[in-house]
Every structure is written in structure tokens, then in C-alpha cells.
């Protein structure tokens, strides 16, 4: 072999080694991991697990871990929070690596961390839940919570709790200050807005640039036009060009044209901008779902106001109201639900027993679900668990306790999914529809036709 040939071979070998090393990190690859038993409660065995997610963050996550450690004192849980918009990008390499988080959050449908996509890298928890709750374990959970987290007959994650959307929140203190009552019709809403704006207070605020919330509002309007029609359209039983959807889009457009939506809504993000503006009391009404219930607690509200840039925050009274009747048919009070997030155990976890113990405690044990319920961030998924109102401090108990109970009652009767039935592509198409109508780039009829043609191509 000549020197030149040897050198060439050496170069090729080096390149091949480098390429082979990289091959191991890229492309589709399988892996299921070991399926250990769940660590028994009170075990002395020490373990440390990493819990990866985007919500709810401290102080709620600290409180949950503290409550978990009362049952499992020797399992250390480390919470790692990722920004909601960057979650998909961050979790994808994380769960593919050998230093995968032990527990990671997923959600339903097209939301970030969708179980359909990320569930492949999680262990099936069916047998663990069955061992804990018995053969009738399914009946002990909210049906949507289990259905949305079951992928290819595998229970890839356990929902922590449910969130419901379709309602609004008002700053009750501002309403009281100007002698206003919550609007129930479009005309009343316009009157309320006129009064607020004449007093230098913003009326209603929504971040149309963050599409998920556009879909919430459109869904809520569609439920008023014809209850259940939106779900039919999503499943192909109705056409997006139907008059129900065109009317929905016309009403959506009226919110912009008739001064309900704040100017420049299409450029605003729901988080952080709209959330911050409402918490800074710049606006009196906001489109947010049941997750906002946590702000009826003074400490949580105070921390959120500080995070929103409010100096010396004084918690104020927020109360939930239903979307005012825009159609005039009286079809109000429809909410739609998804698990806000669910915890899955990574197939690459090196602490499977501890990770399963944490995941099951969170969703399938009354102790965990009680902590969830009492945080008021989510509604529990485990049947029979309700907030312990005696232990929950409210900013304004006289007004808020009954209002929140009423909201939860409406929520629990809901059967419609929020994003569970919406694929990522359909999500994009709905957002384009919402934004093109909002900005006047398309008429409701044109936008409906475009949406139907997109739906046909998916």
C-alpha cells in the first residue's frame, strides 16, 4: 500500500468514525426501556428524578413536590421549567438523549408536547394504574383525561388536571368602581366597553397573535351559534363552509369592528402581554379559561402581579363570566376541556420506579389530586376530589367562592374537547382563518372556503 493510499484510508476512516458517531444521534430509532414496578409509598430507597415541563412552575410545583415528599420522603424531585413556546424544541432532544428527564409533560392534540408525538418515548402506564386503582380504573378518571393520553392503546401519560376554556374573567373591582355588571349580550358588552374607555380603562383584551386563544374564542362563539357544531366540523361531519361557521366568523369580525377587541389585538401575544396587561389592571376583561382560577388566591395573584411588573401589588378581585351571548339564541355557558398537562415516564429514565411513583401520586392518588384541586390551577381528573374550600384563602371569598363553584359546575358538565381533536395542521389553518378575518385580509366567506379546502387536503 502506498503512503498516499494509507493517508487516504486514514482520512476516510476518521470521517467514517465521526459520521458513525453522529448517526447514533440522528434519524428514527426505537427504544422502549425497562418497565419497573412503582416504588412503594414511604419507601426508604433513595432516588432523584428530573421532572421536565412548562407549567405551572413555582410556587405551585414546589408545593406539589413538598406534598409528594410527605408520602415519598426519599425521592428527590427536581423541576426543570421550559418556556411554553420552546417546549417542543427542548423536549425532543432531551427525551432522545441518555440523560433523559425521568418525567416529562405532555398535552392533548396539537398543543405543545402533544401526546401523539411525544408519547412514543414514554412508558405505558396502564398496568401501573390498574394495579393501584383496580380493574375499573378508567371509571375513576375524567374520560377526556384518559382518551387524550391513550396513543395506540398505550396510556402514555397521566393527566394532572383539566382546564376548560370558553369563559372570560373580569376585574370585579373595576366593574364595581364604575357601577357595571357583567355583560350578557353584545349590546351590553359594547355599553360596558364605552363606559370603561370613557374612564380611561381598557375594556377587553385578547392576544390574537397567539393562535390557541383565537381558537378558544372561535370555538366559544361557534357553540353559541349551534352547540356541538364545532366538534362536527372537526370530525368531518360538517363543512367549514356551512352557514354556522360563516356566522361564527362574522361575529368574530364584529368583535374587532365594534370596539370590543382592543386596537392592535392581532399583534399581541396572550402570554405575556395580555396576561400582564390584565394583571396590571390596564384592562377590565380578559379571555382566559379555568387555569386563571388560581388568581383568586391572594398570594398567587400577588406573585403573578409582581411577575407582570406591578410594583407593590395589591391583589384584586377577579370573577369568571361566560362569553356574552353574541348570537341572541341564549346558547351560552359552553366550555371545552383538555388535560392542561400530563406527566409521562420517559422510556430512558434510569429511575423508573421513582418516576412512576411520582406520576401516579400526581394523578391517581387522592393526596396528589387534592394538592392539584387546592391549587385551583386545574380541576382534578380523579373522581371524588374537590377543592377543600376551608383551606383555601381567597382575595374576596364572598364574591369569588360561589362564582368559582358555579364555573366548576359548568365545566364538569362539559363534554367537548379543547385541542384534543385538533391536529397541528388544522390548528394552523384555524389560526390563519382567525387572523385573516381579524385583519380584514379575507371575508368570513372567503376564510371559510380556504379553511375547508385546507381541511380537505389534510
Amino acid at each position: 500500500m502506498t503512503k498516499k493510499l494509507k493517508r487516504t484510508m486514514a482520512a476516510l476512516a476518521a470521517a467514517a468514525v465521526t459520521a458513525a458517531g453522529l448517526t447514533a444521534c440522528a434519524g428514527p430509532s426505537g427504544g422502549t426501556g425497562a418497565e419497573d414496578d412503582v416504588a412503594p409509598a414511604g419507601t426508604d430507597a433513595e432516588a432523584s428524578i428530573i421532572w421536565y415541563g412548562w407549567t405551572p412552575g413555582p410556587p405551585a410545583t414546589d408545593n406539589y413536590i413538598k406534598a409528594f415528599n410527605e408520602m415519598y420522603p426519599n425521592i428527590k424531585v427536581e423541576w426543570k421549567q421550559v418556556d411554553i413556546d420552546g417546549y417542543n424544541a427542548a423536549v425532543r432532544p432531551a427525551i432522545a438523549s441518555d440523560s433523559s428527564p425521568d418525567v416529562y409533560q405532555m398535552s392533548a392534540g396539537s398543543a405543545n408536547g402533544g401526546a401523539v408525538i411525544f408519547g412514543d418515548s414514554a412508558l405505558d402506564l396502564t398496568n401501573d394504574v390498574k394495579n393501584l386503582l383496580g380493574d375499573d380504573w378508567r371509571s375513576k378518571f375524567s374520560a377526556v383525561a384518559i382518551d387524550t393520553m391513550t396513543v395506540n392503546d398505550r396510556l402514555v401519560a397521566l393527566a394532572a388536571g383539566m382546564v376548560y376554556a370558553g369563559n372570560l374573567w373580569i376585574n370585579q373591582d373595576i366593574f364595581d368602581k364604575y357601577g357595571l355588571t357583567a355583560p350578557t349580550t353584545l349590546d351590553e358588552w359594547k355599553t360596558v366597553c364605552a363606559t370603561l374607555e370613557s374612564n380611561g380603562v381598557g375594556c377587553f383584551v385578547q392576544g390574537v397573535a397567539q393562535g390557541a386563544f383565537d381558537i378558544d374564542t372561535l370555538h366559544a362563539i361557534a357553540e353559541q351559534v349551534e352547540p356541538g357544531w364545532f366538534d362536527k366540523a372537526l370530525t368531518g361531519q360538517a363543512k367549514w363552509t356551512d352557514e354556522q361557521w360563516v356566522q361564527t366568523l362574522e361575529l368574530w369580525k364584529r368583535l374587532f369592528d365594534e370596539g370590543i377587541m382592543q386596537d392592535g389585538a392581532a399583534g399581541l401575544m396572550q402570554y405575556p402581554e395580555v396576561n400582564n396587561a390584565f394583571l396590571a389592571q390596564e384592562y377590565a376583561m380578559v379571555m382566559m379559561g379555568t387555569w386563571y382560577t388560581m388568581y383568586v388566591q391572594p398570594e398567587t395573584m400577588k406573585q403573578a402581579m409582581e411577575a407582570a411588573g406591578v410594583a407593590d401589588p395589591v391583589p384584586f378581585t377577579i370573577t369568571p363570566i361566560m362569553l356574552p351571548d353574541l348570537v341572541g339564541k341564549g346558547n351560552t355557558g359552553h366550555l371545552f376541556a383538555d388535560p392542561d398537562y400530563a406527566n409521562g415516564v420517559s422510556a430512558k429514565s434510569k429511575n423508573v420506579a421513582a418516576a412512576k411513583a411520582f406520576t401516579l401520586w400526581y394523578s391517581a392518588r387522592p393526596e396528589g389530586q387534592q394538592a392539584i384541586a387546592d391549587s385551583l390551577n386545574l380541576l382534578p381528573v380523579l373522581s371524588g376530589v374537590t377543592p377543600n374550600w376551608d383551606n383555601i384563602e381567597l382575595v374576596n371569598p364572598e364574591v369569588q367562592e360561589s362564582a368559582v363553584k358555579d364555573l366548576f359546575e359548568v365545566a364538569e358538565s362539559s363534554t367537548s374537547q379543547r385541542f384534543g381533536g385538533i391536529s397541528a395542521d388544522m390548528n394552523d389553518a384555524l389560526v390563519v382563518t382567525a387572523q385573516s378575518v381579524a385583519t380584514g385580509q379575507a371575508t368570513p366567506q372567503q376564510a371559510a372556503e380556504t379553511l375547508q379546502s385546507t381541511a380537505d387536503s389534510l
Binding site: 493517508r7 487516504t8 486514514a10 482520512a11 476518521a14 470521517a15 465521526t18 459520521a19 458517531g21 453522529l22 448517526t23 440522528a26 434519524g27 428514527p28 430509532s29 426505537g30 427504544g31 417542543n88 424544541a89 425532543r92 427525551i95 432522545a96 402533544g114 408525538i117 411525544f118 412514543d120 418515548s121 390574537v208 397573535a209 397567539q210 382592543q262 386596537d263 392592535g264 389585538a265 392581532a266 399583534g267 399581541l268 401575544m269 402581554e273 397541528a424 395542521d425 394552523d428 390563519v432 387572523q435 385573516s436 381579524a438 385583519t439 385580509q441
Partner: protein
């Protein structure tokens, strides 16, 4: 006395062979960049969500989908408009600043720092400021209203007609400092005798700039054009952080669309196909501009 350089044979004996010296760099380039390109090409033939162990072979299906996708063409159009506008503005402003600061202007160093400063600021840190600045209740509208130009006040980022120009304005603000510094350095290389000769021949400022300085900076302009073109193709951070590509895809670029499809929608194969289109455009554009510059230089 002429200096003889050694024959090829003599050089071969006295100098170490080149391959071992370039081997580490070559392995890195081949291993990382060319391997990644090859892998991206392979992934572009798959219908794959980026996580699943299962992927479906679709051949050229992702490319067919790309050519039929109106948002892809919209992104491409935005990229072209963005490149032409930002390159023209940055060149005009950067060249003008460089020429002015080559004169006896006071506080030259301070001016240079002010012009260059935006270049070193991370877009991620500036994005919230720009969102505030250009929002309906933002400072720009406050100023316009304050000076009686209420009619010009506008939700700049919320209107699809003004969102893209606003993104271009932010980019010009950020990168003109770099153009300026390169032109400034390029102008420093011009032989002062030529400039003096032109003055003696009666050339005015504009004549000197257009007939001597500008042609002398052609190499810099070409480099800026190539970098600007590739930069436009890769544009991601400003439109994503300021407008998330919206409203209604009004500020969608190839970079943001690749991210949207690959990361948000988990169409990793489709995103890989768009990435390859971006690569082909970048290489083709760079070659064309270089060839054009050589032709003009001749």
C-alpha cells in the same frame, strides 16, 4: 536578483505533506456539515415526526408538497423582498456613515460606537422592546400622536401590510453598524493619492464618492450582498421573536417556516425538504453573485 522558488519535487521533499494537517478540520467539516446535509436529505424523504421510531418513506413527496404550498412561496417572496430592501438600505446608510466619518467630523469615535452598538445586542433581548415600541399603545404611536400625526399612528405589528416593513426596519437598525464598519475599513484602504488627484482634477464630493470610493469598495459590497442574501435566507430570530411569523404568515420566512413545520407541527421530513431548498438557494445565490462580481471587475 530573481528569487528561485524550489521545484515541485524539491517542495515535496522539504515540506510536510498537507493531508495530516488538514485532516482534523476535514473530518470535522465532512463529519458535521456534509454528514448533516446528507442526513437532512435522507430525512426529507420521510414522513417523520422527529421522535417516533417509525417513519414512512415518501420519496419526493415532501418536495412536491413544498412546491404546492402557498406559504412556502409566500415565505420565499418575503425573503426576496426582505433581502432587496434591507441590503439596499443598509448599504446606503452604512456607506454614507462611513464616508461621513472619514471626514473631520467631531466626536468620530462616539459616532462609530453609536452606529455599531445595535450589532452587538442580541435580538432576543431587543424583541420585547420592539414589541412594545411598535404596539398600538406603544412609544412610536405615542410620539406620532404627541406631534400631531395621529393619522399615522398604527398597530404596526398587527397589520399584515406593515408587519414586514417593521421587521425590515428592525433588521436595518440592527445590522447597519456591521455594513458601516466594513465600508469604513474598506475606505481606509483607498490610496489617498488617488483621492487627491481627483480633487486636483476638480471632482466634487459626490463625484469622488461615486467614481472612486464606491468602485473601490466593490469587494465589500459583494461580500455584504452574499452575506445579506444568506442572512435573509436564514432569517429567523427577529420575525419569530417579534411577530411569530404573523399575523397570518405576513412575516413568515423560510427559517420561521422550517421551525414551524419541523418543531411546532412535527413535520420533520417536510421541514428537511424546505431546509434543502434553502441550502440550494444559498449556494446558488452566492455563486451567482460571485460570478457577477468577477464579470464586473473585468
Amino acid at each position: 536578483m530573481a528569487i528561485r522558488t524550489g521545484s515541485r519535487r524539491a517542495r515535496g521533499r522539504n515540506q510536510a505533506p498537507g493531508l495530516p494537517w488538514i485532516l482534523p478540520a476535514m473530518a470535522l467539516v465532512v463529519g458535521l456539515i456534509y454528514y448533516a446535509i446528507g442526513d437532512t436529505f435522507y430525512i426529507s424523504t420521510l414522513d417523520w415526526n422527529g421522535v417516533s421510531p417509525f417513519a414512512e418513506e415518501v420519496g419526493a413527496g415532501n418536495f412536491a408538497k413544498m412546491f404546492a404550498d402557498p406559504v412556502f412561496w409566500q415565505s420565499l417572496t418575503h425573503t426576496a423582498v426582505f433581502f432587496v430592501c434591507t441590503f439596499a438600505l443598509q448599504t446606503l446608510i452604512g456607506f454614507t456613515f462611513a464616508a461621513i466619518l472619514h471626514t473631520e467630523v467631531k466626536l468620530r469615535t462616539v459616532h462609530k460606537v453609536i452606529v455599531f452598538l445595535p450589532t452587538v445586542l442580541a435580538p432576543a433581548t431587543m424583541a420585547p422592546t420592539f414589541r412594545l415600541l411598535f404596539s398600538d399603545a406603544g412609544m412610536l404611536n405615542d410620539i406620532l400622536r404627541g406631534i400631531g400625526l395621529d393619522k399615522l399612528a398604527h398597530p404596526w405589528l398587527a397589520d399584515p401590510n406593515t408587519a414586514l416593513p417593521t421587521i425590515m426596519l428592525i433588521t436595518v437598525w440592527q445590522w447597519t453598524g456591521m455594513t458601516f464598519i466594513l465600508y469604513y475599513a474598506s475606505m481606509s484602504q483607498i490610496d489617498s493619492d488617488i483621492l487627491e488627484a481627483a480633487r486636483l482634477d476638480g471632482a466634487g464630493n459626490f463625484r469622488v464618492l461615486s467614481a472612486i470610493v464606491w468602485p473601490s469598495c466593490r469587494g465589500t459590497t459583494t461580500v455584504m450582498a452574499i452575506l445579506g442574501f444568506i442572512g435573509a435566507l436564514k432569517t429567523f430570530d427577529v420575525p419569530w421573536l417579534v411577530t411569530v411569523g404573523g399575523p397570518n404568515h405576513a412575516t413568515e420566512f423560510l427559517g420561521t417556516y422550517i421551525y414551524r413545520q419541523g418543531i411546532r407541527n412535527s413535520h420533520v421530513g417536510y421541514a428537511a425538504a424546505i431546509s434543502l431548498a434553502l441550502l440550494v438557494l444559498a449556494v446558488a445565490g452566492a455563486i451567482l453573485m460571485t460570478l457577477n462580481n468577477r464579470r464586473q471587475a473585468k
